[in-house]
Symmetry: D2
Subunit: 206 residues, 4 copies
Amino acid sequence: MSDQDVYAKQGFGNSSGFGRSVALVMVDFVNGFNDPNLFGGGNIGEAIAATQKLLAFARRQRLPIAHTRVVYAEDGSDAGVFRLKAPSLSVLTETAHASQIVPELTPEPGELIIRKTQPSAFFDTPLTHWLISKGVDTLLVTGCTTSGCVRATVVDSMSSNFRTIVVTDCVGDRAMAPHEANLFDMGQKYADLLTSEQVMAHLAKA
Amino acid sequence: MSDQDVYAKQGFGNSSGFGRSVALVMVDFVNGFNDPNLFGGGNIGEAIAATQKLLAFARRQRLPIAHTRVVYAEDGSDAGVFRLKAPSLSVLTETAHASQIVPELTPEPGELIIRKTQPSAFFDTPLTHWLISKGVDTLLVTGCTTSGCVRATVVDSMSSNFRTIVVTDCVGDRAMAPHEANLFDMGQKYADLLTSEQVMAHLAKA
Amino acid sequence: MSDQDVYAKQGFGNSSGFGRSVALVMVDFVNGFNDPNLFGGGNIGEAIAATQKLLAFARRQRLPIAHTRVVYAEDGSDAGVFRLKAPSLSVLTETAHASQIVPELTPEPGELIIRKTQPSAFFDTPLTHWLISKGVDTLLVTGCTTSGCVRATVVDSMSSNFRTIVVTDCVGDRAMAPHEANLFDMGQKYADLLTSEQVMAHLAKA
Amino acid sequence: MSDQDVYAKQGFGNSSGFGRSVALVMVDFVNGFNDPNLFGGGNIGEAIAATQKLLAFARRQRLPIAHTRVVYAEDGSDAGVFRLKAPSLSVLTETAHASQIVPELTPEPGELIIRKTQPSAFFDTPLTHWLISKGVDTLLVTGCTTSGCVRATVVDSMSSNFRTIVVTDCVGDRAMAPHEANLFDMGQKYADLLTSEQVMAHLAKA
């Protein structure tokens, strides 16, 4: 029996669908994650290009939009376990080039910018409560990396009872095996997997 | 360049090590996840057997010990997105056989039992604050499934600044490819991967 | 200048109003808080009587309804700082008479029952995410005590971006000075203060 | 029977004491809360003066130290219910004079600075997890206002299982009745009330 069959037999892999009010979050699309010499590589560049179109669409549709950045204090006052596992992340400070959002996706006034220190966009941030203030029940997740901050964000989004959609061509990773493995896990248990074209077609009709 | 090499070059895969005070959590080792006709299969049975020894050791060492169960209300009052993705989980109610902890790991008085409704043992539960009350800084994670509730628990444990150790022979999954893929992700970014023998050898010396 | 004038001059005391979707929470209306020999007294009995009418109305209007209970483990495994300050709370266990919801407000199937160990109904509980699943943006808070679990719940509700309404005749306290002082604080900064009659008149029209 | 007697009879008002590892948090001691024409007044100036001595002591003792500031986005992207109740708070932006920490308490490198948008220093911030990273089990709370952000922080601190101490001469409020009423509530249920002299005497011996 294939893995897929095991999951199907046990009742996983159903669709949670769209609710009535959708927001877009872009996880960690910052220069440092678009640079193979820092934390980038793989298909992250393509994901940024695809997200540029989705972002333009979301702005036309006036969806609530949030961007996340990883930002650590210059003086190390917020050091923790994540930087024991990956000390190189400490370069991501407020003013570092590496932690600025990529030019293709520059935030516009009124879009939320979330500074975070952990993988999930929800962890120790106001994201849940901002989504409540906007009346959102469905979250489109884009960003990088699929196997890291996107996965962590998706698990928290679903756990928070937001219907969650991973926009498959708008998420990227430095390495393809983790990218694929995490899409499988998320699709089976936490989120629907849709292309940006499918998402835009659905929302254009709504 | 291999995936492993990409991660090494970018500064991932370091060890976060042991702190000074260790606790053990066993995630969702309940009958339903040890039954291939419900949510079990794969190497979960072996993980339970290995955890039985680790639990006996932890009791002798008087470590704080927590068990988790997935428990949903009989009347559906707590239905949410997780059960849109996996409706079959709804059988896990307070008194159902499927949601009782497996006999090999029956909790003893004084051990914390956490009822949860989402993948992470931390999500909407008192786990973080119980660990604070015990002065814990290091968490041994066991349980199932590796690619589901274990992974979600590990991400939250690390994000909460607990040094996190996945006990590799004490975690199991219904399918082996997700098991392996998630061990890779966790070892690179969130936790140290150690066998139960390595953990017990370290703690016996401490 | 009176306290009220100071707050007015500094820009506090505005109304946050009703949103589009309302839920009702009843905080800790359990036998032990309706018994002056345990944790009750003052105007708690009157608050229960007034809440009985509001609850009947909420059921007719099909509002989402949640009850909270304080529940501690029989074996002391979840002991913490709250029970250093108030050791007598430890009698509130799953099966104790003191921790059952008062007969006047017995939950009906489909109403959420939240077990909690801390003052706020939101702390380490699924309340936020259940409200998200119901599409709620406005929370009616009733219960006891005004200066304790009601106040803590109201602060978290407002902080979570729910428009929050304290139903003044449906909250009670063992002592009147703290009751009044906390109504003042909440009205100035966190919630609108309305009688049950005002609330029902508003919702009947909506 | 006096209020105090009611609380004593019901088992409240015990001491939670000091643990083994103490940190200091200073809540919202920013220019705007030290200016009676903005959000200040009352005894906040005296609280700042007393905290200056406690801070110097804490630095000599090398305690972990955290400062909080209220900071809202310039473009209103993070607007929520708190600013419906108190729209004037919106002046507290990253670069506004009103939201800078008062000169007497200027942070030193290595001290944590927490930006927050809600009353509690814990709400949507990394404070809990930073305290975990420092191995802290006891929190000294100072700041303003006693009936607002101090109270909310103290409830969350106790709920998180930190032994909590309100330093009575280091907390202040714009109005004295709420200051006193909230000291009463906190002392009965959530925290020990000690003067800065008592705290320093205890820690000097430890």
